[in-house]
């Protein structure tokens, strides 16, 4: 086993401008928010974001000007309403956001995780989302070779980097996700590089006491970063709940055109906005 423990700045270096990336968790649960903030601080550009049901992670990157393209099944702030930066920039034509349905995204991750160029799914037929995806080249109507049934072939989605916030890992990258897993294990297998931020580092001997609790084995993990509160203001099961008040503050700032102030206060934290060159 190889030690993969590193710092947050170094880990963010895995993400190149223009990279296709995805995040663990779903909406306000276990999103790797501190890593997202680090991407903003490093002034990443033209990112290509993909996920089933993201929320503040995507919207923050969009608002900070880091994003060129979004593919999501749904991107909103749950009962709080629309994702403000996503909506604004999409309507202005500053980001591309045409495609979007959960199952083709999940299935695309699964195909990549399985090492397949595509896998079939059901449903989708008749939706304009399928039409768009056929033009884009991510989905295609096919016939099952045995039954002749109409199926939708979904092209594999292999993110350049998957970033996952987990509860625990050892320094080799044996990761324990506690509670709901979402597609995190699938994403880790699908991605070219995997960065895991964790609430808590634990020893390898601790890991070996309960191998069944390891959800992602070390050999598919490229970096582990100790990042307590790394999902904040999203939740991290067994550690903290989502801070819905903070999320509402984010939305108020965006609504009042004070998003830059939000970024200063919560992302740059008074360290002065980095001027991207």
């Amino acid at each position: 086993m190889k030690k993969v423990l590193t710092g947050l700045q170094e880990a963010a270096g895995f993400v190149d401008d223009g990279a296709l990336i995805t995040f663990g968790g779903a909406t306000f649960q276990r999103a790797p928010m501190e890593f997202v903030r680090e991407l903003v601080r490093q002034g990443k550009k033209e990112l290509n974001l993909i996920d089933r049901e993201p929320a503040m992670d995507f919207d923050l990157l969009i608002g900070a000007g880091c994003v060129a393209k979004v593919r999501a099944g749904m991107l909103a702030f749950e009962v709080f309403g629309m994702a403000p930066n996503f909506r604004k920039k999409s309507e202005k034509g500053e980001i591309i956001t045409k495609e979007g349905a959960c199952q083709p995204i999940i299935a695309g991750f699964r195909a990549a995780a399985m090492g397949l160029p595509s896998i079939p799914i059901k449903g989708m037929l008749g939706s304009d989302l399928l039409t768009i995806s056929e033009v884009v080249g991510s989905q295609k109507e096919v016939k099952d070779p045995f039954t002749g049934e109409t199926m939708i072939a979904v092209r594999a989605i292999e993110p350049d980097v998957a970033i996952i916030h987990a509860q625990k890992a050892d320094e080799y990258g044996n990761v324990r996700i506690e509670g709901p897993l979402y597609e995190d294990v699938i994403k880790a297998k699908a991605a070219k590089k995997v960065v895991v931020t964790v609430e808590e580092l634990i020893s390898n001997s601790e890991i070996r006491k309960m191998p069944e609790a390891t959800t992602i084995p070390h050999f598919i993990v490229d970096a582990v970063v100790e990042t307590p509160k790394g999902a904040y203001p999203c939740s991290c099961f067994n550690y903290y709940d989502a801070d819905y008040d903070h999320i509402k503050e984010y939305l108020r700032a965006a609504a009042k055109d004070q998003f830059d102030e939000y970024l200063d206060q919560y992302v740059y934290m008074g360290m002065g906005r980095r001027v991207s060159t």
Binding site: A26, Q29, G73, E78, V79, A101, C102, Q103, P180, E183
Partner: protein
């Protein structure tokens, strides 16, 4: 004389009524009304339903809801975790009986739009996206669409963009699947030979005429259209107990 029942509670009760005992039911994101409906159904007429949470818990002992329908606290004392990809497999096997989905627009053939108002290449309004709609609407035996603002800008002749497939956008094999629409005014379905929208129930305090007026196309009226059955006090108490903060009202603001 009965006290006035709040619209969200009426909707929850109407949505719960769509679940039969032993049904396998899933809810998705941003779904306080579906979560409450599933909880009510389980505590009343469908004790043996399989409850799959969007937060991944199976048959949790749900005690209250939160602003996120994926909040892990919704999984309290669940018997198992079951991921969304597993639930989607279940749907592909035909074993997911009921799904609840939202909509920003619905049309007379049951197509829904959650993608965009205006043109997809130059959206006038960017909507959040259809989540599981395009996948589940054609293959799930029963899809319940809930709409909290029944107006003729939401109930339109033809949706701007077909996110979820109505009866005119489905394979023949899926024409039998059921779509039910529960709005803040009533309950609509497509149980007629032409598979076009008809009023089945109007909520107490509302009427067939009001629904017709607030619908942007010529909506039919079921021969047996009637007032929506109202929940009893014990159901309303249950709803209040699970949602003490009134999360269910958030979509109505």
């Amino acid at each position: 004389m009965t006290a006035k029942i709040e619209t969200p509670d009426l909707m929850v009760y109407a949505m719960a009524a769509e679940i039969e005992n032993f049904n396998t039911v899933l809810h998705g994101v941003s779904s306080p009304l579906p979560v409450l409906a599933m909880s009510v159904a389980r505590k009343t007429h469908a004790p043996d339903m399989v409850y799959i949470s969007g937060a991944e818990g199976v048959d949790p002992e749900l005690d209250r809801i939160y602003p996120s329908s994926f909040d892990a606290r919704l999984n309290r004392n669940a018997v198992a975790y079951f991921g969304l990809h597993e639930a989607f497999d279940l749907a592909q096997r035909g074993e997911l009986d009921v799904m609840f989905l939202g909509a920003a627009q619905v049309d007379r053939r049951g197509n829904t739009n959650l993608s965009v108002i205006g043109d997809i290449d130059r959206p006038k309004v960017q909507l959040p996206g259809g989540a599981a709609s395009a996948f589940l609407m054609p293959i799930t035996p029963k899809v319940v669409i809930w709409v909290t603002r029944h107006t003729n800008r939401v109930f339109v002749e033809e949706v701007d963009f077909v996110t979820g497939q109505g009866y005119d956008h489905r394979l023949e094999a899926y024409q039998k699947n059921e779509i039910v629409i529960v709005s803040n005014l009533g309950v609509m379905n497509f149980k007629n030979p032409d598979r076009v929208m008809q009023i089945q129930y109007y909520h107490p305090g509302h009427s067939v005429d009001e629904i017709k007026e607030k619908t942007g196309f010529d909506i039919l009226v079921a021969p047996d259209a009637a007032e929506t059955p109202a929940p009893g006090q014990e159901v309303i108490q249950l709803i209040n107990q699970i949602d003490p903060d009134g999360v269910r009202s958030s979509e109505f603001r």
